[in-house]
Amino acid sequence: MIIQIENLKKVYDTGKIQVEALKGVSLGIEEKEYVAVMGASGSGKSTLMNILGCLDRLTEGKYILDEEDVSVLSGNSLAAIRNKKIGFVFQSFNLLPRLSALGNVELPMIYAGVPGSERIKRAKAALERVGLGDRMHHKPNEMSGGQKQRVAIARALVNDPAILLADEPTGNLDTRSSEEIMEIFESLNDEGATIIMVTHEQDIAMHTKRAVVFRDGSIISDKPIEKRKIRRGEIQA
């Protein structure tokens, strides 16, 4: 199991009021799974993503990522985990505007201490993998939304992470680009990547293989996707 969460609680302490964003969630994700995390805003899915992504610390419970108990880690150790084991794809791409596609893809390797020549080699390979071999030296503002997201995917892949975390990756894209991105994710999954994707769109979730639905800080359903069921609206966000 690549991700193992037991009785995970997250409480936001805002002084007077304590908000329980996650109320004891347990979840296991196997290697090579492709999971959609769904739910309305405020359901706790973003909190879960932040914790899964080692951006936030849990209040109670246990989180084991790739056989390492990360719930006991903090600060810089979490940064190292993010660098090596997690690939992020954000809704708003989060590319650095001054860097070329290549430069953006190089970033995680810079923090991993990969030497320059190898960095460029690997970044080029990752960009070619997402079909941007001819756009390597373009800046983000010279690219379309779909292309930007593909750069972001290349960046997420380049350190060969244990999981790929995508947070509404098609939220800012038109239908055509969304389809392109979903195709890339699917083929990555086919090649063996473990992907966890937060989305509130059912037709996007339809591309995944398992849907975990959140409501009020708890999982209300966790089922494998059968495409016709989604079409009939049997899996609800």
Partner: protein, 402 residues
């Protein structure tokens, strides 16, 4: 992230905001360049003055009437006899150059020039290192015969006659109510020549006349100073004491005279110049601090602007010290570039100003090193807080920042 990467990244960011970076640097540029200019000119000035003093000679003792003393009477002033007495009675005295002076004019029927009128003897040429351009200096015969001759400076000669070839011309040398006609026997370089740029057209001229005709030329013709050269300076203090005792004995007075060596004055001038340089450098240093605050300000803006970038970098695995290093190198680079520009500017400015006031520039490598050190220190000191602020950002909040 290593240093090379953070330097690359910082340079990129500086280049991306050219105008802003330049304006931020300006504070550092002004600070560094003014410190360098001032210190270099101060240093050069000190050396020029030292050089001049060494020119004048280190084997000179100046004997003066304490002019500040209100109890000084006419009989306390030196006479030509005193000068002879010193030379005859005190072993080790090479020659004595008494002088009296006053502000006055050199006139012809065409024109006139403001000048220092000095009644001197033949040793004055050597004493002041006068550079004769035409004719000769006042000699012993002029003095013995109290001849109405004069040696004037080149600036006055040109101002009045338009040329320095004026040997044999008659000029009127005046001081307050006194004036005489004197024949020009020589033209020398102006004594204050080095300060020409400072005075401009108002540079006073020089008119030297034999000391024996001082009563005809000078309203106040008292001899208040004598320059004495010694063959050997090793016992200068004892010789100076001896001279003063002899003068006191001959004038039958006490505590009216003072003797000083050239070097004592040099030390005073040097220490004044040092204080002057230090004070102005301190003021310039303040501008460096102001520049540093400007750097801090712009770095804080930069951190806020790039909050999302910081969040992204952290999500991708940047540790706090990576972010810290990134912003610290950025402020360091701004200050270092500013320091280099400031240094170049400071040295050029020093050269120009030094040329204008005729002081050779002395740019010590220490000053250059110090300015590098200083601008780096400013960069690190004022970059620390913004960099720390950036490093401490919470990745989730930073990623969410609009």
């Amino acid at each position: 992230m290593n240093l090379v990467e953070s330097f690359k990244s910082a340079l990129q960011s500086v280049r991306a905001n050219k105008m802003r970076s330049f304006l931020t640097m300006l504070g550092i540029i002004i600070g560094i360049s003014s410190v360098i200019t001032i210190v270099s000119i101060g240093q050069g000035g000190k050396e020029a003055i030292t050089g001049e003093f060494q020119d004048i000679g280190t084997n000179i003792i100046n004997v003066q009437v304490k002019a500040m003393d209100t109890s000084i009477e006419t009989r306390d002033y030196f006479t030509l006899k005193d000068a002879e007495l010193l030379k005859e009675k005190i072993p080790g005295v090479e020659w004595v150059a008494p002088s009296a002076e006053g502000r006055g004019y050199i006139k012809s029927d065409k024109d006139s020039k403001f000048a220092m009128v000095m009644a001197v003897n033949e040793h004055f040429e050597e004493l002041m290192h006068l550079e004769l351009l035409e004719g000769r200096f006042i000699n012993q015969r002029d003095i013995q015969n109290a001849k109405q001759v004069t040696v004037i400076d080149d600036i006055s000669a040109k101002a009045i006659f338009g040329t320095t070839e004026i040997i044999g011309e008659k000029v009127k040398v005046s001081n307050q109510s006194k004036d005489i006609y004197a024949t020009v026997v020589g033209v020398c370089k102006n004594v204050n020549g080095g300060m020409a740029a400072m005075f401009g057209d108002n540079m006073p001229g020089n008119a030297f006349v034999p000391i024996t005709i001082r009563e005809k030329v000078l309203s106040n013709h008292q001899i208040s100073e004598m320059s004495v050269t010694l063959t050997d300076m090793t016992h200068s203090q004892e010789i100076a004491d001896k001279m003063i005792r002899l003068l006191e004995k001959s004038h039958r007075n006490e505590d009216k005279y003072a003797a000083s060596e050239g070097f004592t004055q040099l030390d005073t001038i040097n220490s004044v110049l040092n204080i002057f340089t230090m004070v102005i450098s301190a003021i310039a240093g303040i501008s460096l601090i102001v520049g540093g605050i400007g750097v801090m300000n712009i770095m804080l803006v930069s951190v806020t602007e790039r909050t999302r970038e910081i969040g992204t970098r952290k999500a991708l695995g940047a540790q706090n010290r990576d972010i810290m290093l990134q912003f610290l190198t950025e402020s360091l680079i701004i200050c270092l570039i500013g320091g280099i520009i400031g240094m170049t500017l400071g040295v050029s400015l020093g050269l120009v100003v030094g040329k204008m006031i005729n002081i050779p520039l002395d740019v010590s490598p220490l000053v250059i090193l110090a300015s590098f050190g200083f601008s780096s220190a400013v960069g690190i000191f004022f970059g620390l807080y913004p960099a720390q602020k950036a490093a401490k950002l919470d990745p989730i909040e930073a990623l969410r920042y609009e």
